[in-house]
């Protein structure tokens, strides 16, 4: 399987695209929040936070939805600040 970076201009663009596709979900609500977060908040995360976000994307849709809507809290404390940021991402000016 070819894994060359092709004609991509930016380094790391491939990982970014992969992440962008992982933000495609079964629920519009998650699409909206994850897409906005990825664009405006993700670039300023630290490397460990970025890894936590990648892990967060592996969760099931209804679980993510419950956490974001505040119906339940994530067991993993590393997810809490990310969930908080997701809740805020669209409300920002």
């Amino acid at each position: 399987m070819s894994r060359e970076a092709g004609s991509r201009e930016r380094p790391g663009a491939e990982a970014g695209e992969r992440l962008r596709w992982q933000c495609r979900r079964g629920m519009l609500e998650l699409d909206l929040l994850l897409e906005s977060f990825l664009e405006r908040d993700y670039p300023s995360l630290s490397d460990p936070e970025k890894r936590d976000f990648t892990r967060l994307l592996e969760m099931q849709d209804p679980q993510l939805h419950d956490w974001i809507m505040g119906d339940k809290s994530p067991d993993d404390p590393a997810f809490s600040p990310l969930i908080l940021a997701l809740r805020e991402t669209l409300g920002q000016p």
């Binding site: 399987m1 695209e17 992969r18 979900r25 669209l90």
Partner: protein, 599 residues
Amino acid sequence: MTLPRRRFDTLIIGAGGAGLNAALQLAGSGLRVAVVSKVFPTRSHTVAAQGGVNAALANVLPDTWHWHMFDTVKGSDYLGDQDAIEFMCREAIPTVYDLEHMGVPFSRLDSGKIYQRAFGGQSQDFGGPQAARTCAAADRTGHAILHALYQQNIRARTHFFDEYFAIDLLRDDEGAVLGALVLEIESGEPLLIEAKTTLIATGGCGQVFRTTSNARINTGDGMAMALRAGIPLQDMEFFQFHPTGIAGKGKLITEGVRGEGGYLINGEGERFMERYAPNARDLAGRDVVARAIVTEIMEGRGCGINKDYVLLRVDHLGEELIASRLPGIRESARIFAGIDPVLEPIPVFPTAHYSMGGIPTDRFGRVVAPAGEGAEEVVPGLYAAGECACASVHGANRLGGNSLLDILVFGRAAGKDIVEYIKENPHHRPMSEASLDQALSRLLYWAQTEKKPSGKGKAKPAKVTSVRELREEFRKVMEDHAGVFRTHKTLSEGVKLLKSIRKQLAGIHLKDHSKVFNVARIEALELENMIDVGMAIATSALGRKESRGAHSRPDFAARDDRQWMKHSLYFKEKDRLEYKPVRSKPMTVKSFPPMERTY
């Protein structure tokens, strides 16, 4: 380049409830099944279905499949095919029991039986008292079903191609479908999947409208593939809109908000529903409220800088009532609109929710299209099920609780019919290299650095330069010209604009030509699909000169059974329309003649 090839008995495109239920029937029969999905299967849009599944189990109130059938025929505004509706309502009962045996955690009564809740449009005794017909697994029925089906398929060794995007169907000279060309998103490499039978189960297409409750993945891929293979789409003018989506976002705000006393105001602060529905006001039917909102905006009485939404007020209800009766609404408004509804009204606009139309099938899930003398000739080897298909059980409007039912019943029916088809047609047909070349050319098209005009006519110089920009322009045109408010003027202008957008797409080229995880290329392919489907919707809506179910034309305000009791068929070639009769004869019972639809 040698194209890798794989062979299966059946190829299923789409891994939502319809695709996975079909796959399960097949894998259980020992057939080799491939399921292709552009996202991980449990991220299919079925996961978002909260409502439930209708089945006349009579666990809470008396019920029969025949009453369920009556409600569905009436809900369809008499455009549904009554044989398919009878079949669906009968099959609903074993389908729900099947799910129960699969481990779907349905909510229960104290007696241990499945709990059933009442939904709008459900009646006992053919239009009598309210029925209770909807089985639900709390508020996550879709997720519970999808999860159970996925686990069962893993156990049954269904072969999943996750994150593969289907490019086009392959057909031979006799019209038989031979499989599909697909693209592995990760590697960017094409793969030919040859199959004796192919099932399209790609779900809906709500993303064609700017404001939609549908997930990003709902781009009508399977519908567009059918169009490109020469198969028409049926009844595409019938699209269900929910009146209150969060403006600019699409997230649905439940009707319950108005039920609890919330009301709509325009830019002048007026409670405008009083003018449109003096008695029911904000609680009028979905279509009435949706049309009133759009009319206010079109006449310049919208809110905000662009005057492109109205406001839903709940602040007068008080914080306590909002917290106790409308939990979730406050959070939703905060998260998605950045406002607190206790203090400020919520900006809303009608949101596109469900496509009644789709790929025409019979009640066995077989795709049927006009050929020779017949209006419904089976396309050999091709099946469709779920929101992308049109069986047609929803006709001009769908009842709540019938969409999960549709995907499960017809997914299963298609699976069963495929087993029989393969018994009679046990061999792969030879691949059509011409058809394959055509499918590959679609892929190569987006690999070009500079676009050359292709096909007939020159590509217009692009006004917009990116797929994203053109997508947003396209979705706005669909919303403004083929959405809730439809007249000859809006629709004919819309069709013209869509033709121009179709030409503009041919002038755009992608900057990113890498193969690996090239999302921009997938989005270009999706936009092509959306434009094909959008054209089907607008053209069919322009053609239907009556108002029926979800399709409303102020310039033809009445339902016209004499001229329009027929299904529309849109063909991509020359944007042509044909019509075929409604199947008003059920399988075993008497048919329900059209009556005025009042609730």
